[in-house]
């Protein structure tokens, strides 16, 4: 039987209480929401917190809404809500692409966006999605809130900018005109982690790509931000040749390792193909030409 090592459990009834608990309990405390990453790691003794602070009752952290020129998503919003959201399907269709292939529908009833980002697993899809969308995350502690860009959020494998005594509370996604976004993933079987996945967003203005964002999952020690490929795209008209060129950059700028999901060459190849496909679909959506 796989059972976690002993720990103490507290259930928070407000964000303030959760933060107060985390401050009091110190570095041996972990937040639990969906628990579908943390509990398996605890069973395998890869994680051994002495305290768990359960935030599942914090309904104030479960929402998807428009706030000025941003779409804001509460950290406790579950995968199933991201999948079903009509607002996201219309404005940020990359979320529905990704949510259809994250784990399975039963797991999606529990897992949360905040938990996915804080797990900081390089193979995790939403980190690539948020990288492409140039999202910001709001982190709250005893001294108040701070906002961190997604590129500064993931500081290493399974490591984030969230410090002891702090809680990720919100994901903020800037909404700009002319946007299109898409997520492409190849996995071994339904519900598995990606062999490789690519998230792409572009913003078209006057027939040219004003800005682009690309994030890759499962092809590096952390989520890969393809800054050089974004630079290749900026200022040019969307075209199949251009997206193929960005795909070549993706094969060069990722750093996959060989494992049961495939050898390095195959993963590099996938990173390129999926980057091109994601850009093609993102552009079709931006130009309202999606088949």
């Amino acid at each position: 039987m796989q059972t976690p090592a002993p720990f103490d459990y507290e259930r928070a009834t407000s964000v303030e209480e959760a933060i107060a608990s985390l401050q009091r309990l110190g570095p041996e405390a972990r937040v639990i929401a969906g628990g579908h990453s943390l509990l398996p790691m605890m069973k395998l003794r890869l994680a051994h917190p002495e305290y768990l602070v359960d935030i599942n009752d914090l309904a104030e952290l479960a929402y998807i809404a428009e706030d000025g020129d941003e779409i804001v998503i509460g950290a406790l919003t579950r995968h199933v809500e991201l999948l079903k959201s009509e607002l996201l399907a219309e404005r940020l269709p990359i979320f529905r692409d990704a949510e259809q292939v994250i784990a399975d529908p039963v797991v999606r009833n529990r897992g949360t966006i905040g938990g996915s980002l804080c797990q900081a697993d390089a193979a995790e899809d939403l980190s690539a999605v948020c990288t492409a969308l140039k999202a910001k995350v709001v982190i709250r502690g005893a001294e108040g809130e701070r906002t961190v860009g997604i590129e500064d959020f993931h500081v290493g494998p399974y490591m984030t900018a969230v410090r002891d005594g702090e809680l990720l509370t919100e994901v903020r996604i800037p909404v700009r005109p002319g946007a299109g976004s898409a997520h492409e993933k190849v996995e071994r079987r339904a519900g598995d982690w990606a062999i490789a996945a690519a998230s792409a967003a572009i913003w078209v203005d006057g027939g040219k790509i004003a800005d682009a964002g690309i994030g890759l999952a499962a092809v590096g020690p952390t989520t890969v931000h393809l800054a050089r490929a974004e630079e290749v795209l900026r200022g040019k008209a969307p075209s199949e040749d251009l997206f193929a060129e960005a795909g070549v950059v993706a094969t060069e700028d990722c750093s996959p390792s060989a494992d049961g999901r495939g050898p390095v060459d195959y993963k590099r190849h996938l990173a390129g193909v999926l980057t091109t496909r994601a850009l093609r679909r993102a552009a079709a959506r931006a130009l309202h030409q999606e088949a």
Binding site: Y9, R11, G35, L39, D104, V106, A190
Partner: protein, 165 residues
């Protein structure tokens, strides 16, 4: 710690360790061993129960996290000696061989039909994609869920549920 969970409409209160998983809390309750404990890694779906109506994998939820929530297990499906249509469908369509995955399949199917009473084969396959059956190849399971959907629809229209046992 004392944990109190409503299981199949009855309050169950026990003094447990915080690390106890929901699947074990359920199975250690007299009469409730129908929920199967399988892979322990949230992959196989044998342990699926309904939490406030939504299917969840009970091997990957702490019992303590369910305090104040309503859990439904496979034992709640049969009522007054009548099988639930999904159970009847599994019988009619021979949707099990060894039966190990069946409790999770039944609860996943029940939740699907509660949300979507007329699912396509594709929608059924997506719904059960988090559950593994090593015997049937899934075809008969999909067929059984369709059987249940059609007979529930017929029952709602006053035709009554055929009893072919």
């Amino acid at each position: 710690m004392d944990v109190s969970i409503v299981v199949n409409g009855k309050q169950v209160t026990r003094d447990i360790e915080p690390r106890q998983l929901l699947v074990h809390f359920i199975r250690e309750t007299p009469g409730l061993t129908g929920t199967h404990w399988g892979c322990d890694t949230s992959n196989c779906g044998a342990c699926v129960v309904l939490m406030d109506g939504a299917p969840v994998k009970s091997c990957t939820i702490l019992a303590a996290m369910c305090e104040g929530h309503e859990i439904r297990t496979v034992e709640s499906l049969e009522r007054d000696g009548r099988l639930d249509p999904v159970q009847q469908g599994f019988h009619e369509r021979h949707a099990l061989q060894c039966g190990f995955c069946t409790p999770g399949m039944l609860m996943t199917a029940r939740a699907l039909l509660d949300e979507n009473p007329d699912p396509t084969d594709e929608e059924i396959r997506i719904a059960i994609s988090g559950a593994i059956c090593r015997c049937t190849g899934y075809k008969n399971i999909v067929s059984a869920v369709r059987w249940a959907a059609e007979h529930e629809a017929a029952a709602k229209h006053g035709d009554g549920l055929r009893q072919e046992v």
